[in-house]
């Protein structure tokens, strides 16, 4: 991302509203330098945990309340050929985010520009978002007495200021490609797959997962082999919405049945009073 895609695509005065922020993350380009991990911490001034050298280089071993993105290292061997894959973890900024849909207080919201952001002052700490997120992204400040949810903000603050996200800016190899349009990134992803037969596992993770996300992943290996959960295609909020939207009907049925049975049973009771 040499130039500033956001500024390029917005005309003066219109602000950044027209943007639909998106990452295309191409693991085949990633060199595992962890620049994204560190720059994210730097931009967000996130703290650290005391770690130990592990059996692999993945450190911190998982996303946590201080780590919005990390690189996971995967070694594998096939027919004597070793390969080493680096996978970037982080929020997918789902088009229809489960996390935001389940939040009872709209602490998590999908912004018009694409980022799913968190408004700490509203959060009650129910952690339903954590349960609901199919990618296990939201993290909690367990150690604190007044904990917050933490997750990647898609650098919403930077986007609004006309800058691309810190991780994408830092990425030396273009692995994290920022665009102001999911469609553009999707087209680019498709192009890369078709122009490089055999290079990619033929799947754009995020195109359909959880109903589609703003972050798209490409990889040489099937994504579940580099730590990305198998996630179904359904729009998760639809699953609950189907129920919620049925509530008026339930109300109608229950009221009708309740009143009806009250009326009927009352009459019945009155008719054969001797029964009592």
């Amino acid at each position: 991302m040499g130039t500033n895609a956001i500024m390029e695509n917005t005309t003066a005065g219109q602000g950044v509203k027209k943007m639909e922020a998106s990452f295309l993350i191409d693991a085949t380009k990633c060199i595992g330098c962890r620049g994204c991990q560190i720059s994210c911490k730097s931009w967000n001034q996130n703290g650290t945990d005391r770690t130990t050298a592990g059996p692999t280089f993945t450190n911190p071993p998982k996303l946590n309340s201080k780590t919005y993105t990390n690189i996971a290292f995967f070694e594998s061997e096939q027919n004597g050929a070793v390969s080493w894959n680096f996978a970037r973890n982080g929020c997918f900024h789902c088009k229809k985010p489960a996390c935001a849909s389940v939040c009872p207080v709209e602490a998590l919201v999908k912004t018009p520009e694409g980022p799913v952001i968190y408004r700490a002052e509203r959060c009650i700490g129910c952690r339903y978002c954590m349960l609901a997120c199919p990618f296990n992204v939201p993290k909690y400040e367990w150690e604190k007495l007044s904990p917050k949810i933490q997750k990647c903000t898609f650098c919403y603050d930077r986007l609004l200021a006309g800058m691309i996200p810190a991780c994408a800016k830092t990425c030396p190899t273009g692995t994290i490609h920022f665009s102001d349009s999911i469609e553009k990134n999707l087209a680019e992803a498709k192009k890369r797959i078709s122009e490089n037969p055999g290079k990619y596992h033929n799947h754009i993770y995020g195109e359909k997962e959880a109903g589609g996300t703003s972050v798209l992943l490409l990889s040489a290996l099937p994504l579940d082999q580099i730590g990305h959960a198998k996630v179904g295609d359904q729009v998760l909020p639809d699953l609950t919405w189907k129920y919620i939207s049925g509530i008026p009907a339930i109300i109608g049925v229950v009221l009708a049945a309740g009143i009806g049975s009250w009326v009927i049973t009352r009459r019945m009771k009155n008719m054969d009073k001797e029964d009592e």
């Binding site: 998982k62 207080v105 904990p147 609950t240 009250w262």
Partner: protein, 380 residues
């Protein structure tokens, strides 16, 4: 005023036990409130909801279902026969909800913002629906239980007025409960990839509702038998076998529903796959559904207090297992895949015990000082 009430002794060894649990539990609650969730529970990023949600909230609310089941029977279906147990059932529900709400208060990271959902509406959120329901329904239950309070303080007029409008209140309560019980199932609709297929299904709200009705009936029946034992009055076998018949229908329906869900979902094979989940599923089904159903299908069993009591216990335990399966065991596999695991801390257990003991204690307290159990007698 009933004389019977005075036979309820406050300071029995059981009460003492309850008090000890309450005090010990209060320490755990204090720890939770001063040290935070991380320090006192085994909750973690890969397992954000644990025992409190599984037992206190899901289990507790299901147990409280007796309230609306009996209320609707009495006030909507005009089954006056069950009026004697209406007060204890509704009181149980009220206490149950208060305690479930306390459970939520302790479970959420920002307890003092528990009111936020009331003002920050998010209609897409099941959690919002649940929260709104808990609040309104607890209010309804308070109203439903208020007559005995007014009775106690001698405001007969008010008591009579409330009793007069009981039908719409009960209707509203039933509506809320139906929604609420099913909503708790709907909470898990959002995790199709995480919850084990033995439990995940789009019919989760419905199965939660039906199992709550089962549970409610058993709970009421269970309480009647227990209180008749403790408070030494005669259990009404008619009421009990009536409840048993109701249970039979509910369980039968639930059984068919569960089998349908199983067939539509992962298939019969999944239940016999030998995994931890499969075993827990079979346990849940055997304890809560199949054995009680078989027992209830035998007419003699339906009419014996002893066997009804057994069925009640089985159903209660079975449904609790079901709730724990959905909330904990069914999600463990996903946690394990991510290298995590979960088992509650002593502190978590103690907080739950605190809530349960407090509930029982308050119930007993109410029985002593209010006309909970002897309502009919007083009237007659």
């Amino acid at each position: 005023m009933s004389t019977e009430r005075h036979e309820i002794k406050m300071f029995t060894p059981m009460t003492l036990g309850l008090l000890i649990l309450i005090i010990a539990g209060a320490v755990s609650v204090y720890k939770r409130m001063t040290l935070g969730l991380g320090a006192t529970t085994n909750l973690q990023d890969d397992f954000p909801w644990g025992f409190w949600i599984g037992f206190d909230v899901l289990g507790g609310v299901a147990m409280a279902a007796g309230g609306f089941v009996i209320a609707s029977a009495v006030y909507l279906f005009n089954m006056k026969k069950y009026k004697p147990i209406a007060r204890p059932a509704i009181l149980t529900a009220f206490l149950g909800y208060l305690l479930a709400a306390s459970g939520i208060f302790l479970d959420i990271g920002q307890p003092f913002r528990i009111w936020h959902p009331m003002v920050m509406w998010q209609v897409h959120s099941i959690m919002f629906i649940v929260a709104i329901h808990v609040v309104i329904y607890t209010t309804v239950l308070a109203m439903e239980s208020s007559p005995m309070f007014f009775e106690r303080i001698g405001l007969k007029g008010v008591q009579r007025f409330v009793e007069k409008i009981m039908m719409p209140i009960a209707l509203f309560g039933t509506l809320l409960s139906t929604l609420h019980q099913s909503s708790l199932g709907a909470v898990y609709l959002i995790v199709p990839d995480k919850l084990h297929p033995l439990w995940y299904s789009s019919l989760l709200p419905f199965s939660f509702l039906v199992s709550a009705i089962m549970m409610g009936l058993s709970m009421v029946s269970f309480e009647s038998i227990l209180s008749s034992k403790f408070f030494k009055h005669q259990a009404n076998v008619g009421i009990l076998s009536g409840l048993a018949r109701g249970s039979m229908v509910a369980i039968g329906f639930y059984f068919v529903l569960k089998i349908f869900v199983l067939l539509k979902g992962p298939g019969i094979g999944a239940a016999f796959a030998g995994t931890m989940e499969a075993r827990l599923y079979l346990l849940e089904m055997a304890v809560g559904v199949i054995v009680p159903l078989i027992l209830l299908l035998i007419p003699a069993m339906r009419n014996s207090t002893g066997s009804i009591f057994l069925v009640n216990c089985l159903v209660i335990v079975g449904v609790v297992i079901n709730r724990m399966n959905v909330a904990i065991f069914g999600l463990l596999r996903h946690a394990h895949e991510r290298g995590a695991s979960y088992f509650p801390t002593t502190n978590e257990f103690m907080v739950t015990l605190f809530l349960v003991a407090l509930g029982i204690f308050l119930f007993k307290f109410a029985c002593k000082y209010f006309n909970v159990l002897s309502y009919e007698e007083v009237k007659q």
